[in-house]
Symmetry: C2
Subunit: 107 residues, 2 copies
């Protein structure tokens, strides 16, 4: 029983260590995303000012290709990386629509 308790308590300490690292990485992710949205916000404003189309299929295809390649190098599932980009881009489009509406600018 004591050996089991010890075993469980070790597992519990190890779980805590792993979760602390996950929490640190989540802080990196949140701050990096915040920074990324600052840039996409600027892109949205620039496009609105110069009446550039909000979507750019060539840029998007390049981004997907690059992200899949980076994912492979980092041993991350490339399909997940692509889904992740789509998830972020969906939010960016929501922001750009808000800029467009707020500024009364044409898409």
């Amino acid at each position: 029983m004591s050996a089991v308790m010890h075993h469980t308590s070790e597992a519990s300490a190890e779980l805590q260590r792993l979760r602390d690292s996950i929490d640190n990485l989540d802080a990196v992710l949140v701050h990096t995303l915040a920074e990324r949205f600052k840039y996409t916000q600027k892109v949205g404003e620039l496009k609105a000012q110069h009446s550039l189309p909000p979507a750019d299929p060539i840029r998007e295809a390049t981004q997907i290709k690059r992200l899949r390649s980076l994912a492979e190098t980092a041993k991350l599932d490339p399909d997940f990386a692509e889904k992740f980009l789509a998830f972020i881009v969906k939010e960016v489009i929501r922001h750009h629509e808000a800029i467009s509406t707020a500024g009364g600018l044409k898409n």
Copy 2:
């Protein structure tokens, strides 16, 4: 006409600068996610070894609260941060199910 051309070319250079920064931040995101999945993979293995339940509602509630607070500090939409965590966790669960199936271990 020449002024317009100049204007457009400046906008185009600025757009490229912004996109270069976005690409750099995407590389940070991909590598951080790859590192995060290494830790959640270890969590999954530890939980399977010790027959711990895969889901932990208290941990999840703490994570959501923490991430929303970090997002506010970083001026990121807290609702987006929460959606982002849910998106990542969905992928983690997919990995854990794969561990569970591969090891023939009970959930």
